[in-house]
Each structure stands twice: as structure tokens, then as C-alpha cells.
């Protein structure tokens, strides 16, 4: 009997890090757009310069959510940052 393939994914945990290039590729977004969202406070990054930026799991999830909120609801970066902060606060309270 053929063995079914077992897929191994990447866990978005505390060890997860992406470079600017990687996050742009995965999220299908330009570097300029990511820089704009970092500047607006939607996501926080480690590192001083975009070339050395590292995005953790939280930043990755927030970036994806911000892009969806913008696409689906027309929310601008400042609005997305506010909405995501409030949602996180709500999650903590729950």
C-alpha cells in the first residue's frame, strides 16, 4: 500500500522570522507597501534598516490581516493599526 505523503509546515511561533524579501513574496506585496505599513505602526520589526529587518509571527499575521482589511473594507493603514490593536486587546481580555 502506498504511504500517504505527510506535509510538514512552518509553525508561526516565537522562532519564526522573515526578511523583507520573504514577507513581500509570501504576501504578494511590494517592499514600498510594507515600509508604508511599518511607518504607520501596523507592524513592528526587528532591525534598523529595511535590509536588516526581521518580521516575527505577530508582524506577519498583522501584515496579512491589514492587507485583507484594506482590500475588503477599504481601511487605511492608520485604521488597520487601530483595528488590530483593539482586536488584540479584546483577545487578551477574553
Amino acid at each position: 500500500m502506498l504511504q500517504e505523503k505527510i506535509f510538514t509546515g512552518v509553525v508561526l511561533d516565537e522562532n519564526f522570522r522573515l526578511t523583507l524579501l520573504e514577507i513581500c513574496r509570501i504576501c504578494e506585496v511590494s517592499a514600498e507597501r510594507v515600509i508604508e505599513l511599518v511607518d504607520a505602526g501596523v507592524i513592528e520589526v526587528e532591525g534598523a534598516e529595511p535590509l536588516h529587518w526581521r518580521f516575527d509571527a505577530l508582524a506577519f499575521r498583522r501584515l496579512q490581516a491589514a492587507l485583507r482589511l484594506e482590500r475588503d473594507l477599504g481601511v487605511n493603514p492608520a485604521g488597520a493599526a487601530l483595528a488590530l490593536d483593539l482586536l488584540e486587546e479584546l483577545r487578551r481580555l477574553r
Partner: protein, 314 residues
């Protein structure tokens, strides 16, 4: 095929203006957006709202939809587009599904030609949608790691029509040990297929723990309420305690009280560092249901008089 009343979905009357439709859509899209909403069927509702707006915002589609309104009312579940529909209205291109959380219903596709042309015919290259799913696992599986077999609805290209159709896909996925509640696993390329030779999207699995009969979980730490007797609490004792790797002995210090928290270092979920297991003591008193037991309690009251409410001034 199930009839969709797009006006009812958006909560507007059939003579609503474009502004009213837009306002209703925006309000409902905010309410049911899967990133925002905690409602159980938010994603499904969001898709429905998007589909309704896709039709009602477009004067051509709305006109076509309105024209057959009376037939739809009679058609109910068995509705089929009337003969000559395609020739009259010519909706073949469909629409790009709004949002990344799915696509349009069979009803929409029957009327407007389907939202998901696939292959190179579109002449543009597009990455497939990311898909999201929740996986509920036992705490023991998070502790040891496991392999889960998932069945997902994944859009796939139908070779005959070139369109995307939902197909059941079985996938065996490794869940690594030490995974935490709410964490996501990204499976690159396991989402919806791309268009025009574009790459497939990714699959994101959100991990949730099934409720455990003994343990509560916070991050990697476990919490366990442990019943003990009054004499174990007063005199101290070594008692057996369940952990995820089996039974261990726990030393209760003399003079312990209810809600005292003891730590079993490293006995939580694995990781760097591993979580701890916290044992919360709960003193259980035996019932005074015989003359002998009553006498013992009365003896205790005499020998050890105390007022546990002293701090309350009563």
C-alpha cells in the same frame, strides 16, 4: 440549487438606491469580516454579503437579477436560470470573488457565469488564494506531536471546463510537539491553485486544543486543580499527581491551604524553555455522616479553635 435573495442578505428593500446598498454592504462586511468577527459562521456570511454586493452594485447584473425576481420567488430550491438567459444577458466572465476568503455560490455561477476562470485563458498570471482552516487537537497530541488527517474543500481546476470547482482534498499534516493554542502552521503551496500558471496559495492551519478533563492551558504552562485531604494539607504529604508524561509524586508542604500554587518545573508543554505545570491545591473535607466522624470534628473544634473570618472583622 438554492435561491439567494441578495436584497434580504444585505437587508435592503428591492428599490434601494446604490448609496443605501453600499452603506448596507460596508456595515455587514465590517460585521462579518473574518479578521474582525468572532461569530461562528462569519466567513460564510462574509462570502454571502460579498456575493450580494457583487450583483447589486452592478446595474447590469442587478437589472438581470430583478427581471427574474418573480420566477425566483416561485422557483425556491429548484431554481434554474430561464432558457435564453445567457444569450439575453451574456454574463460569462463572472467576477473576481471579493475578498480572499472564498468564492461565489453555485447560484451566482449559474446566473453570471462563474467567478473563477482558471488556466491561461485569462491571459494573466495570478497567485492562488490562501486557505484557512482550524484544527482541534488533544492536549496530549500537542505534548507528544502527532499527524492529523484533514479533509479540506480546496478549489481545483476542472480539466473539462477549465474552471475551478471545490474538491475534497485529504491531507496528512504533521503537528509538531510543543505547539500552542492559537498558533498557526503555514503549508506553502497547499492553498488554492493559481491562475494563468501562477503559484498556488498557502494553507494556514490554526491550532485549537480540545477541552481537557484536568488541565487548563496558558501558553506552554498547564494548570491543574488537585484535591487533597485536610490532613495532607495540615501535616504535609507526598501525593500522586497526573502530568502529561505520566504520574509524578508531589510534596505538599505542611500547613498548605486551598489555592496554594505549587510548580512542577518543565512539566508543561515542550519548548525552549518548556512550560511548567502548576498544581492548585483544593482541600476537600470528608462529610460528617456518622457519629464517629461528627465526634472527631467536634474534637478538632475543641482542640484547634480558630476563626478563619477574623480578617473580615466578623
Amino acid at each position: 440549487m438554492e435561491f439567494k435573495d441578495y436584497y434580504k442578505i444585505l437587508g435592503v428593500s428591492r428599490d434601494a438606491g446604490q448609496d443605501e446598498i453600499k452603506r448596507a454592504y460596508r456595515k455587514l462586511a465590517r460585521k462579518y469580516h473574518p479578521d474582525v468577527s468572532k461569530e461562528k459562521n462569519a466567513e460564510e456570511k462574509f462570502k454571502e454579503v460579498n456575493e450580494a454586493y457583487e450583483v447589486l452594485k452592478d446595474p447590469e447584473k442587478r437589472r438581470a437579477y430583478d427581471q427574474f425576481g418573480s420566477q425566483w420567488q416561485q422557483g425556491g430550491q429548484g431554481f434554474q436560470p430561464p432558457p435564453g438567459w445567457e444569450e439575453q444577458f451574456g454574463f460569462k466572465g463572472g467576477a473576481q470573488a471579493g475578498g480572499g476568503f472564498g468564492d461565489f455560490s453555485e447560484f451566482f455561477e449559474a446566473l453570471f457565469g462563474g467567478g473563477r476562470p482558471h488556466g491561461r485563458r485569462g491571459g494573466f498570471r495570478m497567485r492562488g488564494e490562501d486557505l484557512h482552516a482550524s484544527v482541534h487537537i488533544d492536549l496530549e497530541d500537542a505534548y507528544r506531536g502527532t499527524t492529523q488527517t484533514l479533509t479540506l474543500n480546496v478549489p481545483e481546476a476542472d480539466p473539462a471546463s477549465g474552471r475551478l470547482v471545490d474538491k475534497h482534498k485529504r491531507l496528512q499534516v504533521k503537528i509538531p510537539k510543543g505547539i500552542q493554542e492559537g498558533q498557526k502552521i503555514r503549508l506553502a503551496g497547499q492553498g488554492a491553485p493559481g491562475m494563468g500558471g501562477g503559484p498556488a496559495g498557502d494553507l494556514y492551519l490554526e491550532i485549537h486544543f480540545k477541552p481537557h478533563r484536568w488541565f487548563r492551558v496558558e501558553g506552554r504552562d498547564l494548570y491543574l486543580d488537585l484535591p487533597i485531604t485536610p490532613w495532607e494539607a495540615a501535616l504535609g504529604a507526598k501525593v500522586p499527581v497526573p502530568t502529561l508524561e505520566g504520574r509524578v509524586e508531589l510534596k505538599i508542604p505542611p500547613g498548605a491551604q486551598t489555592d496554594k500554587k505549587l510548580r512542577l518545573k518543565g512539566k508543561g508543554l515542550p519548548g525552549r524553555p518548556a512550560g511548567d505545570q502548576y498544581v492548585i491545591l483544593k482541600i476537600h473535607t470528608p462529610p460528617a455522616d456518622t457519629a464517629e466522624k461528627k465526634r472527631l470534628y467536634e474534637e478538632m473544634a475543641k482542640v484547634m479553635p480558630m476563626n478563619p473570618r477574623q480578617g473580615m472583622g466578623v
